[in-house]
């Protein structure tokens, strides 16, 4: 096995329970995004762009869809002989098996994988972020500073800082303090959950942390504070592009809608730095004589006979005649053929509203009544969720109609 300067590890095992029904059969990084992509496309494309050709993808929660999508890594040119993409699920040894307990534990359990490459640096990434970043600059910075860990940070509005791990730095970018989700943040430089570690330092801290019985084995909560305390060299690398963590239904919805803003779209789809995806073979999309599309994004394989405004229509979706959608998201192969007028609704993958569906009549009213300005509705197999209740409950639309 060849030695590698830098190996990337993508944490893609999370259930993403706050994405509710969107992750019912799929891990978060495998959720469709932006018309034709899946969330993990962005971090994988960043790796390709950055010249990183050895990537471990750590999976744990319902990986079937994701594994199938990632296939052999070839869509991201990660199918090389001297590197490539490897899926790293939890496994069993002669001492039995153990599931990944936290972000740091997941990496710890795959130290054998890293050992094969004897890397100088390890890049820890998350599979749930939407951004376009050249990691090689960050690795260069890390080298130049002689850092033990470099943490990518982004300035967030002060009022949001308490949702993140925030960093105090000196003028040179050296981290002088770190607080995980502080109540009274003393900085608005938020950690993006992207780390470059000097491998040997990572290795020793992981082995150490694995012995620590009170640790949650989490980078942000445990490992980084320990490093700071041990006097290791922590540096911050500031990123000032578009970056979004799509951990909740609201942030998922917002990040999709952000693509309608050409400023954000251009930041993500820079000419030379494409976002690669494992496309199915879809024909061009068709806008019919009665179709109307405004300020929207439409992916291949879809058909539009109704009116679509400020919306994202994913691959293979159908908008029938007489349908009016505004601020909506139609996930792949969703079919809406009953004459509804809907605002701020996400239709899940493969969900269908047939032309003769008796729901149609009442649905428009129901959604208008039961959702508010700050709320996103989700329709999935005749079940209605609101972003406020999802994860907790749903309304069965069929039953609703019987009652109604």
């Amino acid at each position: 096995m060849w030695k590698k300067e830098c190996v990337a590890m993508i944490l893609a095992g999370g259930q993403g329970s706050r994405l509710g029904v969107l992750t019912k059969g799929n891990a978060k990084p495998g959720v469709p995004f932006g018309g034709k992509f899946r969330i993990i496309d962005f971090v994988l494309s960043n790796c390709k762009r950055s010249g990183i050709d050895t990537v471990g993808v750590l999976t744990q929660y319902k990986p079937l869809v994701l594994n199938k999508y990632l296939a052999n890594g070839s869509p991201w040119d990660l199918d090389g002989y001297h590197g490539g993409m490897y899926i790293l699920p939890p496994y069993m040894t002669e001492h039995g098996g153990s599931w990944y307990q936290g972000t740091a534990d997941a990496i710890y359990q795959n130290i054998d994988y890293l050992e094969q490459y004897q890397p100088e640096y390890v890049l820890i990434l998350s599979g749930k972020h939407i951004y376009n970043m050249d990691y090689s600059e960050m690795v260069e910075d890390h080298k130049k500073q002689g850092a033990d860990i470099t943490i990518a940070v982004i300035e967030v509005p002060w009022e949001e800082a308490s949702r993140f791990g925030v960093m105090k730095t000196d003028a040179a970018g050296k981290v002088t303090g770190f607080e995980e989700k502080p109540k009274d943040p003393s900085s608005n430089l938020a950690s993006m959950g992207i780390y470059v570690f000097t491998y040997q330092v990572l290795r020793s801290f992981l082995i150490d942390d694995s012995q620590d019985k009170v640790s949650d084995h989490d980078f942000g909560k445990n490992v980084i504070p320990k490093m700071l305390k041990a006097g290791k060299k922590l540096y911050a690398h500031t990123f000032d592009g578009y970056w979004k963590d799509v951990g909740t239904i609201e942030s998922y919805y917002e990040a999709n809608m952000d693509l309608l803003d050409r400023k954000h779209a251009s930041a993500l789809f820079l000419e030379e730095n494409k976002v690669y995806s494992n496309n199915k073979f879809l024909p061009p999309h068709y806008v019919g004589p009665s179709g109307k599309v405004q300020n929207s994004i439409v992916a291949d394989g879809s058909k539009i006979f109704g009116s679509v405004k400020n919306s994202i229509v994913f691959s293979g979706a159908t908008v029938g005649e007489g349908v009016h959608l505004e601020d909506c998201i139609l996930l792949p192969n969703a079919v809406i053929e009953s004459k509804v007028t809907l605002k701020k609704v996400i239709f899940t993958e493969d969900s269908v509203l047939n032309e003769e569906d008796p729901i149609a009549e009442r649905l428009t009213d129901y959604v208008r009544k039961h959702s508010s300005e700050n709320e996103v509705s989700i329709i999935d197999e005749n079940r209605f969720f609101s972003s406020k209740t999802d994860g907790k409950g749903f309304v069965n639309l069929k039953e609703l109609l019987d009652i109604g």
Partner: protein, 365 residues
């Protein structure tokens, strides 16, 4: 279809003697239907019919063609053993001097053909769009006592200078010949046939001996000795041999029925090289009607009855009607186009107006 190997020829230039000076729209790498190239159709059809070994004849366009097809992975034809293979055309073909149903290109590759282990060879042209289930045709027509099966279709496009298949009153194959007059042919040979490998080898050897390198002449001579059948293909198939037929074929895809027949057949997708462009973005004042669009397009103006290829920008206040806009072209502000073919990589400056007749669409490059 383990018994069948596929060979894709380039037949375009043979129909093109009369329009030498403009871009030959029937070349295998000609872009069509927003995101495809002509070669995608025979390749996908063969792959979908379960043919695992396919050879593509390279010609003057080998760089473009090999770049597009690559390893054949997109078509599921990349294999460690066999899979996709490239063959060379004959020198005369390369120089555009071939004759209709010329056997030269096959003859040049007789070593390859002799080593084929499969019993049948499916030879296909590459200048038509169709979604053909070769497996069904082969199983129904070819498996018993048939040395050769020619595919033909009704000449509903009224093409001229083509090969005519003649049947007798009972519908049995009678003759095939190239029609040089300006008469309209009834049964158009689809440049596609199944043939027993041994019969093809025998034909090529005879051609080589006699110097008569036309398949038609050979078939005329041997039609009593070998079993030649003709099969009428009745589904949608459109030949591209000129800018006019190119324009018409693109426009045909705006008909949802035809679109479904080609692009929405279960288990018979048409494959093509991935572009990895973002999905189409529509601006706030976009108005689009009865059109096909695809990845990378950005639409701010008005588009009607048009086929827009990849990565096209149509800016504000422009109107596009009955047009074909090629890859990467930019239509600036306040441009008005009607019945126009815009070639790839063009930029149409603001305040341009171009209108031509639909019978004879103007090509801009």
């Amino acid at each position: 279809m383990k018994k069948v190997v596929g060979i894709i020829l380039n037949n375009s230039k043979k129909n093109e003697l009369d329009i030498k000076n403009i871009e030959n729209k029937g070349d295998p790498h000609t872009a069509i239907a927003s995101k495809y190239r002509l070669i995608d159709f025979p390749l996908s059809n063969m792959a979908n019919s379960g043919i695992r070994n396919v050879a593509v004849m390279l010609g003057n366009y080998s760089q473009k063609l090999t770049e597009h097809i690559g390893s054949g992975k997109d078509y599921g034809l990349e294999r460690n053993i066999n899979g996709l293979l490239y063959l060379e055309e004959d020198y005369l073909t390369l120089q555009g001097l071939g004759t209709p149903n010329d056997l030269r290109d096959l003859l040049k590759n007789i070593d390859y053909l002799t080593n084929i282990k499969e019993e049948y060879i499916l030879v296909s042209g590459s200048n038509f769009v169709a979604n053909i289930d070769y497996k069904k045709i082969f199983n129904e027509e070819c498996l018993e006592d048939c040395d050769m099966l020619l595919l033909y279709k009704k000449n509903d496009q009224k093409l001229r200078f083509v090969n005519q298949v003649v049947l007798n009153a009972k519908g049995v194959f009678e003759d095939i010949y190239y029609v040089t007059e300006e008469t309209v042919v009834e049964n158009l040979f689809m440049d596609t046939f199944f043939i027993k490998k041994e019969v093809l080898i025998q034909m090529l050897r005879a051609a080589n001996r006699s110097g008569i390198l036309c398949m038609n002449a050979f078939l005329r001579k041997v039609k009593r000795e070998i079993t030649i059948k003709a099969y009428e293909y009745t589904e949608f198939a459109y030949y591209i041999d000129s800018p006019k037929s190119y324009y018409e074929a693109n426009m045909a895809f705006l008909d949802q029925k035809i679109w479904q027949q080609i692009f929405n057949v279960s288990r018979r997708l048409i494959y093509t090289k991935n572009s990895d462009l973002p999905p189409t973005a529509y601006g706030p004042r976009a108005v689009v009607e009865n059109s096909l669009l695809t990845s990378g397009d950005e639409i701010y103006g008005q588009v009607k009855n048009s086929v827009i290829f990849r990565n096209v920008k149509i800016l504000d206040n422009s109107t596009i009607e009955n047009c074909i806009i090629g890859d990467n072209s930019i239509i600036e502000e306040n441009v008005h186009l009607k019945n126009i073919i815009i070639e790839p990589n063009c930029r149409i400056s603001s305040n341009t107006t171009l209108i031509s007749s639909p019978e004879n669409p103007m090509v801009i490059n």
